[in-house]
Structure formats: C-alpha cells, structure tokens
Amino acid sequence: MTRADRTRLPAVGPLPPFRFSHVDKDRLSNGLSLWSAEHRTLPVVTFMLVLPAGSSADFEGYEGLAAMTADMMDEGTGNLTAIDVNAAFARIGTHLDADVSADATVFTVTALAKFASQALSLLADCVIRPRLDVADFDRIRELRLTRLVQIRDMPSAIADRAIMQVIYGTHPYAHMALGTEESLRQLSIDTVRQFHAGLYCPSNATLVASGDLSPREFREMASDTFGLWSDGDGRIPEDAAISPPPSAPVHPLVLVHKPGAAQSEIRIGEVGLARNTPDYHPLIVLNMILGGQFVSRINMKLRQEKGLTYGARTAFDFRRGRGPFILQTSVQSDGTAEAIRTSLLEIHAIRTDRPPTTDEVEIAKAALTRGYPRNFETAEQIARAMAQLVLYGLADDYFDTFASNVCDVTVDMARQVAMLHLDPERLATAIVSDSSIVTPQLEAAGLGDATPLLPRL
C-alpha cells in the first residue's frame, strides 16, 4: 500500500451485516420457559434466570423486599450453609450474581462449559430451595442497613435518590432497590418467604442459556435441575409500575446540603417513556444528540467548552412503566448555577430554536448502528440481550431489525419526539453540594429558591 493520504480522513464503508444468534425456545412441563442461543467459539456458558418483577413490586412500606429476597438466595440451601454454597460455586470457578432492577430480578452464572451442569444445578438449588433462615436474614439485613449508612456519604448515590424521589413522589419507581432504613426494619423473614413463594415459580420464570451448549443439551440439563420445581403459591405479580406517575415533580429544585463537598452532583430529570413506546427509536437518536455520547451537545458545552466537569450525559431509562429521563453531571461547585442554566437551556433549545439538524441525526444514527455488533461478543452479553426480549416482550428479530429501525428515523421524527416528550415545565433539578456555596449562585442566576431535601435512606 502507498503512504496514507493526510489531506482527508479515510472513507468508511457501508453498514456491516449483522445477525443475532438464533434463539431456540422451549418449555418444561412445569411451565418454565427455556430460551437458548448456541455459539461454540469458546468453552463458556452463561445461565440467566429471569423473573419478571423487581423493586417496583416491593410491598408498600416494605421497600427493599425484592432485593433482600434475591440477596438471600445464596445464603444456604438444603444442608449447605451460605459459606458452603459459595464454596461450591468457587470450586467451579464462578459465583452467583443477583441483580434486582425496577422491573426484574435476574440471577446470572457464567461458567466453563465443562462445569455447565454443576453450575445450573447450584443455581436451581439456590433459587428453588433457599433455606431462608432467620439468622441469615438478620445478618444480611444488617449488612444492607450498613450499606445505607455508607450511601449517605456518597454524593452521586444521594443525587440519584433525590431526583427519583422528586420526580416520582409516591410511585413505585421513587424508591431504589435497596430500600430505606425504615422499610428494611419493617421486613421479616416471613415477608421474604411470602415474596419468594409468590414470584419465584416456574410459570413466571424464563431460564436463558447462551454459549457452548446445544438446545437439546440445555433442555436435558434444565429438566434434571429445574424439572421438579412447581408453582405452589406462585402468581403473576401485580405490576404496580404501570400505574400513572405524577404529572409534575414534587419540587422543581431541591438541594441536599453536604458541608464541605468538593463538587456539586447535579441531576435534572422528568418522567420519561415506557419501553413499549412507539417512539423508542427516534428517542434514542434524540438522546444521542442531546447528551447520549461524548460529542453530544451537553457534554461538548459543559466539558469541552467550559471545562466545568469531567463529563455530562443524559439517558432515557425505558422501563415496563414510564421510566425517567435524567441528565447527570458533577461540576465544580462555583459553576453549579451556570451548569444548570446551560443544561436547561440546551433541553429547551433542542425543542425550539435549535432543533436536531440533518447532520446531527445522521451522525447519531451512524453511531448507534455501525458499531452495534460489539454488544454481542460474550456469552453474558448475548444472554442479557435475550433477557431484554423476555422482559419487554420484544419481537424475536428485534436485534436484527434494530439498525434498520434506527436508520428509518428522520429529522422530523427526532424533532417531533423532542417537542412531544421533553417538557421543560416538568423538569426537576436536584443538587448535592455545600449549600453555602451553591445557594447564592442559584439566587443570582434567578433559578429560584432550592427546597432543602433529605432523601429517604
């Protein structure tokens, strides 16, 4: 090859072809759904047990219940203590991972293929036959209460809680999966047993497998390990999260006072959209332009132009119900008001005098689609993708059609969803910082009086 031409950037070729793995679906006679994607590049298997309810299904007054229940699953089964269970996973080089989000409870085990049946068998023992001893419960609750104490010292975690509380009021999305000190103290081992009996049953669950395993091998393994699981008191959980969220924030501007804070943590947000919104693709394009990538308007302004922050970003968190739209950043304290004013201005501008341009929309679409295959490299990434299909009822060809659906987004569509779904009147701002530094700035900038807030923790 000859020497590179430095007078212009090399051209980039067309979109690479991409096909998601074939998803094989099956069901055991007890109602447990089996989804698998076989790919034999490396001797690795990921199993995921997906249950369709998470922290938004916490009983009222018992916030933290779903997460506490999930946390109890590797705390002993049959004759095995918590230590024994974890040692058994460790002997095959893995561990059980539990993740509780607003919409779901998901258990993940990734193991070498030669240990696949042992890994699946341990997973089954944990979630079907947990000991749920009161002594283990007390110990785990104590650790979670201590975690809350630590979170009180973490400005970013406080800011996350403050904004959700202000946007969602009494809606189930207002609280975090961990719950609060008060609600954790309400919990008992009986509430955990009740929650477990209700949610953890085969007709609610989907067992996902990805990696070095054929659908037939998977079915045999699943039947051996999960086949005797029965529904018992199980029921499809009520979906509290689809109840309508508040139409306006509790306060437009709140401040959590942190004496001596080294920076200001800022969140600006409002109630956004559900995962099933028909505007999903235009909205992710819009978000890329506004704050969803390094070259977004807000990051370029706050970081690259003004140097006020290490970074700023926005995201729509699409959930089964209407999840939040949130801007998050952490800025030098003396630039707090300027950062808030600039952010609000950018959100306002993208739906009025500076709507998305053709260039911006094309760049956002390219960024979303051209590198898409890299989201499906590992067994765990592929399993997680299948879990998304399960949880949100997405079409089987969802990942294959993603790129073309994004490419179909037009400038008008991006402009329209900005007008329709970003409402500056409903935006709330939460700040975690030293009040003595921030309050005078807010007044001087005409941003109004901040309501002091102590987030529920």
């Binding site: 804070a261 922050t309 290490y310 952490s330």
Partner: protein, 434 residues
C-alpha cells in the same frame, strides 16, 4: 489456550502485533506508549494523564476533537493512564479500520502543530474536575494517595497517584507538553495491536501505510528505583464518612516477577468473596466488619498488596486489626488448605478463558497482547501467564505470605470521620494528602 498472533517491527521501531478473530465484523486497534505517571517529577505530578487528554483534541491533519469522526463511524474509543503506561484504543466496524489507523498515526506523528494553550487550559480544568469527582468528593477517595506516599520514598516514581496533586496540576505548564511528547510519544516507545476481523498481511500493509512515515526517537532509559518499609507506619486520614475503614498495605513483587502470582492468589483466598478467610471471620461470624477486600497491585517497578476492611457500626478499627492479625498469623503458621488451592486453580482457569471473549477495550485481548509486548517484550506470554498461576503450590503461597506480609513492613492507614481522630488505630499520625 492462547491468542495466536504475528509480530513485526517497523524500521522506525514501532512494534506491531496482528491477531485474527473473525467472530464479528469488527476490529480492535490498541496503542500503548510506555510512559505513565512514573515518568513524572515531584512538583509536576499528574502530567502524563493531562497529556493523554490532549491526545483527543486534534492533530495537524485533523485539528478537531477525535471523538466526532470515530463515533460517527460506529467506534467505541477511550484511553487511560496509569503509573506505567498510557493506552489508547478504538473498536471499529471492519470497514473503519483505516480511519482508526489514520487518526492514531496522525496524533503519534503530528500532534504538536495542533496544540494550543487554550486546549491545554480547558483540559486542565476538566482534569481538575475529574480529580474532584473521582477522588476528593468520593468517600475514602484520597486513601490511596496517603498510602503510596508512605509506601514509596519521595524520590520514588510511585510516591504519587496518577491523577496528580492538585497544586501540581495548577502549575503544569503548556511549555512542558512539547518536551514530553518528543521524549515519550514516538514509534520506538510504542506498541500497536490490531485484532479482529482482518487478514494479517492486509492489516500489516495498512499499518505500514499509516505509521512507517513517522520518525523514530530514542527509547527512554528504564528507571532505577528502590523502596522498602522497615518499620510499621501508622497513619490516619480524616474524611467525610461515617464508617471508619482500615487499610493495610505491603510492598510486594513487581508485575510478572517471582511471587506476583502468589500474592494475586493470596488476595482471593484471604479476603475476596464470601468463602475467603476474612469474610468468614470478620463479616459472617463475628460481624465486626461490613466489607473486606484485598488485591495485588502489580506494577512494573514494584507491586503493593493491599487489604481493606470497613468497620460495622458500633465496632472499632482496633477490633478489625486484632482479628486480621490473628488470621495473618494463622496463614503464616499453617498455609492454605487443599480446598483453597482447588478453588484458586478453578478461578484462574475460568478467568483466563473468560478474558478471551472480549476483543478490544480495556482488558480485552488486544490490550492483553500489548501488556505482554510492552512489559515483557513477549506477546506470546498468555500461555506462560496461565502456566505461572497453575504452577503455584500451597507451599509457594505459604512462603509468600510469610515473606511479604510481616507486620513491621506494612503501612496501616485508618480513615476516620472528620474530627474523630480517636477512632484511628492507636499511635497513628496524620497523613499528608493534597
């Protein structure tokens, strides 16, 4: 189990490593410069990382931000600086390989004409804000700064953290950029990996077309250093926290040297996960700690082995220290059990295989090849790396624990709530951080 590759050295000294992996239509480009915060000087700390930021701000033939064209091409990209090296990477669709090579080569060959003091000033502010966000405003965030300052003497290049001292960042000068670039950013101080959906010969041609024109430079001389802690140092640091935390840190073998794998395995055995010894006694049985953790921080010139434990409410750091010392004494007396060895071997095997799943980015295959290339001049080291872990015996671990984890050789740092210095371990003096 290995990562197959071919290796070439261009006339200008650039090492080039090519690895084919056709699973997905993408390519990882990964470029290491053998420079990090260890090459800085007291009073000018944080400069290597600040310089890394400038590498994204444009070069002579594309004098604009680097993110824009690469993100538009579908790339993920980033860079990072640590004490030993600075890395830059892109993961691009196969058809954007030329773009990534063009941009990496342009900033290697032609950065200086595009640099301005305005870019420098803005990125200085960004880095100061990065420091505030990730260190000053984060609970326990300055603990490492206090520890490395006590562990390594003031003339040792690990005496400071890569993010640098705040006042040093303020006094960093635009004039220093030029010399830093000329000293460290040239082909013979760099190693390039191209991995993924490529054919080796074609990929090498493309690399040549972009990098061969860049002039070579003198390879920086290796640093000569030494460090030793001969009497226990007990320090305290006040922070905006509620729960006191104890950090115990020892100097340990350097990366890839004898004892490094042992110390890595000891960290899991001793304090990571619910089966570890400290979790079992401190968190599970006695409930005096809310969390425990240990790790071997493997570095080029020296390692350090660090243990941390956070007190449960109502319990003291003295209780933690006594309980940890009792477990250390037991480990020194008896060594590991056969069950612990089996778990350790299983974890190692699994982790090495899992690592092969990811092509690019931090810790992906391309990054690993470069680590072996830059630190050992041996990209084929993956198998040997696994072998050195598999060769470790119970006797080796026992020996390493006795040799390195002695009380008189450690730095004990108590992090306590502001104004509550009495919660620190007895006989602790205030640490200096800024």
């Amino acid at each position: 189990m290995n990562i197959p590759f071919t290796q070439h050295t261009l006339d200008n000294g650039l090492r080039v490593i090519i690895h084919e992996d056709r699973r997905l239509p993408m390519v990882a480009v990964n470029l290491w410069y053998h420079v990090g915060s260890k090459n800085e000087h007291p009073g000018r700390t944080g400069f290597a990382h600040l310089f890394e930021h400038l590498m994204f701000e444009g070069s002579q033939h594309y004098d604009k931000g680097y993110f824009h064209p690469l993100q538009e091409a579908g790339a993920a990209l980033n860079g990072s600086t640590n004490p030993d090296r600075t890395n830059y990477w892109e993961v691009v669709p196969t058809n954007a390989l030329d773009l990534a090579l063009w941009m990496e080569s342009d900033r290697m060959g032609y950065l200086l004409p595009a640099l301005t003091s305005q870019k420098f000033e803005t990125q200085r502010e960004v880095v100061l804000n990065e420091r505030r966000q990730n260190y000053e405003n984060r609970p326990y965030g300055l603990a490492t700064s206090a520890i490395v300052a006590a562990l390594f003497p003031s003339n040792h290049p690990y005496h400071w953290m890569t993010i640098g001292q705040s006042e040093d960042l303020h006094s960093a000068s635009f004039e220093d950029v030029r010399e830093f670039f000329r000293t460290y950013y040239h082909p013979s101080n760099a190693s390039l990996v191209v991995a993924g959906d490529i054919e080796t010969g074609d990929a090498l041609d493309r690399v040549r077309a972009h990098f061969e024109e860049i002039p070579s430079g003198p390879k920086p001389a290796p640093l000569q250093t030494s460090a030793a802690v001969t009497a226990e140092k007990r320090l305290l640091l006040e922070d905006r926290i509620e729960l006191p935390r104890l950090y115990l840190t020892w100097l340990s073998p350097a990366m890839f040297t004898d004892g490094d794998a042992e110390m890595d395995l000891l960290s899991d055995l001793f304090a990571n996960g619910k089966v570890s010894r400290l979790y079992r006694t401190l968190v599970y049985e006695r409930r005096i700690a809310s969390e425990v953790m240990a790790f071997q921080n493997s570095r080029e010139l020296s390692g350090f082995w660090q243990l941390l434990a956070t007190a449960a409410p109502g319990h003291t750091l003295e209780e933690l220290e006594d309980a940890i010392d009792a477990e250390l004494a037991k480990l020194a007396a008896e060594g590991p059990t056969e069950d612990e060895m089996q778990r350790g071997r299983a974890q190692v095997e699994a982790q090495f295989v899992f690592r092969l799943q990811t092509l690019g980015g931090f810790g992906g295959k391309a990054d690993q090849l470069n680590a072996y290339s830059v630190f050992l001049n041996d990209p084929s080291y993956f198998e040997k790396d696994l072998a050195r872990y598999e060769a470790v015996t119970a006797a080796d671990l026992h020996h390493a624990a006795r040799k390195y984890l002695r009380r008189e050789n450690r730095v004990a740092l108590s992090v306590v709530p502001r104004g509550k210095t009495s919660l620190a371990l007895p006989n602790s003096t205030s640490a200096v951080v800024s």
